[in-house]
Amino acid sequence: MLGLERKDTLLLIAVAFITLFAPIILNPFPAGSALAQFNAGYPDLMQRFVIFGIFAIGFNILFGLTGYLSFGHAAFLGIGSYSAVWMFKLLSMNVIPAILLSIVMAGLFALVIGFVSLRRSGIYFSILTLAFAQMSYNLAYSVLTPITNGETGLQLTLSDPRILDGDTGGGLPVTSLFGAEMRETTTLFIGPWSWDFSVGYYFCAVLMLLAFYLSVRIFRSPFGMMLRAVKSNQQRMNYTGLNTRPYTLAAFVISGMYAGLAGGLLAAMDPLAGADRMQWTASGEVVLMTILGGAGTLIGPVLGAGFIKYFENIFSKINDGILHQWFAFMPDGLENVMVALIHPFIGKGWHLTLGIMFMLVVIFLPGGLVEGAQRTGRMFRRRDRNADHVESDAARQRAAAE
């Protein structure tokens, strides 16, 4: 289906199913129950899951396939956001032109930065991309204030021209897709559960599915095979009559455009753009997501993005008060000890938990979460195969007897 192999089609369907029903799947606990704080099914967080999923999918096309580790991809995310906000200010609150401009601008910047950075490989390439990203960040923060509005960040104002929209009457307008407002949310109550279905989330989710589909096509195409060959042996590539430079540059620009799309979507969900989005920590985050999920795998980056964003938003909200509630059943002394023990890992300490998780994954599952899933799958399958073996032997004997 859709030009995919059966296995990939099944994966795509599974991803589509999960993203479309995410508002239900991510809210397994009834609202108001003690575990409700582990619910991740609120629009703001779900949007982050899919937007950073797109970012990581794009990053994986560069890093997972060609092995070129860019440490400056957040620059393209930021460029995407600024472009989108400018489109909202000047043209229209419709998200389509904004997102198109985000992709194009990020692609152009990626072309220039990639052209220079890809003259080197390995650590030198990483450093060059990092330098470019930090340059972009500092430019956005100070010199380019007329375009980026410096520290305050670029925001919508009432005096913006918005030539296509005309008068919106009074307050600040909101982003929309041909009239459907991005912030519009329908809440469904069934028993104690409540599920939020947001226009913004579904818009992002559809784009993520599209982005995922395109990345599967790239992975399975001759172009994708060439990118894997770049990672494997550039010398052999050259002596096989293949020019590695345009291949790596194409991968760099494609992944830059993915980052631009993600940045544009961030602005479409919340129309402001700040320089922080381009900082090197943001670039590092997408590297973590990709490696944690499994670099070079199809679904890994999405898993990694979801994992990190979940930790960032859920674990950071747990505080000592909540811990005291959980351990209230224990004797007082023990309760305090437990809270003190867990305290460093929650709230502001969520980075510590994430760091430990990351170390464990890198040491024990170098292929990321996907490798973990595969190993588990293989364990079960091996048991099945042993059973099959017995059955097929029996079948052969039966056939021989007849």
Binding site: G3, P222, M225, R228, Y239, T240, N243, P246
Partner: protein, 252 residues
């Protein structure tokens, strides 16, 4: 007029004259060996032919065109394939993919943004690659990861990757270096087999006289960056200048 014509090539590394006025002519459909003691400039010469090094002066003509100033991938597209001293393959890819890549390179050129078709649907390319693998007796290993092959099979695979491009000239850089006698003989057999099946021009750089004398039709002896003689194998064996270059060195 040979398919490869090297005229007056000089290459200097600082104070070392690596190549001094090298002339070489490789005739079509012959196996031409370049031999010489260590440091004779064999590898430097080879690197000048494939675009890795640019000679200080002189000309290198291949099939009527100059290769000087061209990049390795451009020279490969002109029809020169190269086998390395240690097999250079795509270790992380499957054996079949390893052979499909040169097929794509030959059909699509140095770069093509070919992302709208899956590899599996490229039946023509796959058949071509599988036929090549069958030719070197590796078809049943096509789904193995290339890094898991034995050293001899890696060599075979690299040959297959070069041959599937149907090069006009195949350059071999010490194809048996560091091999045990049995592996060396296998490689010689493989090369003989290749030679028998297709009319290919080969240029071998080699240390091992056994290999050279079992394969070559013409031999050029290099010493201190200069060709001493170019002769048939029979005439090389007793040639006084060759004895001097090799044995003179040994007597010291």
């Amino acid at each position: 007029m040979g398919i490869l014509e090297v005229k007056g090539v000089n290459k200097r590394f600082g104070g070392l004259q690596a190549l001094g006025d090298v002339n070489l002519s490789v005739k079509e459909q012959t196996v031409h060996a370049i031999i010489g003691p260590n440091g004779a400039g064999k590898s430097t010469l080879l690197n000048c032919l494939v675009g890795k090094l640019i000679p200080d002066s002189g000309s290198v003509m291949f099939d009527g065109q100059s290769v000087l100033g061209r990049k390795p991938h451009e020279i490969n597209q002109m029809g020169i394939s190269r086998v390395f001293q240690t097999p250079e393959i795509f270790a992380d890819l499957s054996v079949l993919e390893n052979v499909m890549i040169p097929c794509f390179a030959r059909r699509d050129g140095a770069f093509r943004l070919h992302a709208y078709e899956t590899v599996r649907r490229e039946a023509g390319i796959r058949e071509q690659a599988e036929a090549m693998l069958a030719d070197v007796n590796m078809l049943e290993k096509r789904h193995m990861t290339a890094s898991s092959l034995s050293r001899g099979d890696k060599r075979r695979l690299e040959m297959a990757m070069c041959l599937v491009q149907e090069p006009k000239l195949l350059l071999l850089d010490e194809p048996t270096a560091g091999m045990a006698r049995a592996d060396t003989n296998n490689t010689i057999d493989l090369l003989k087999e290749i030679k028998a099946k297709r009319d290919i021009t080969m240029c071998i750089i080699e240390h091992d006289m056994h290999v050279v004398f079992s394969l070559a039709e013409r031999i050029t002896v290099l010493a201190q960056g200069t060709p001493l003689v170019e002769e048939t194998p029979e005439n090389i064996k007793g040639h006084p200048k060759v004895r001097e270059a090799y044995l003179g060195e040994a007597q010291v």
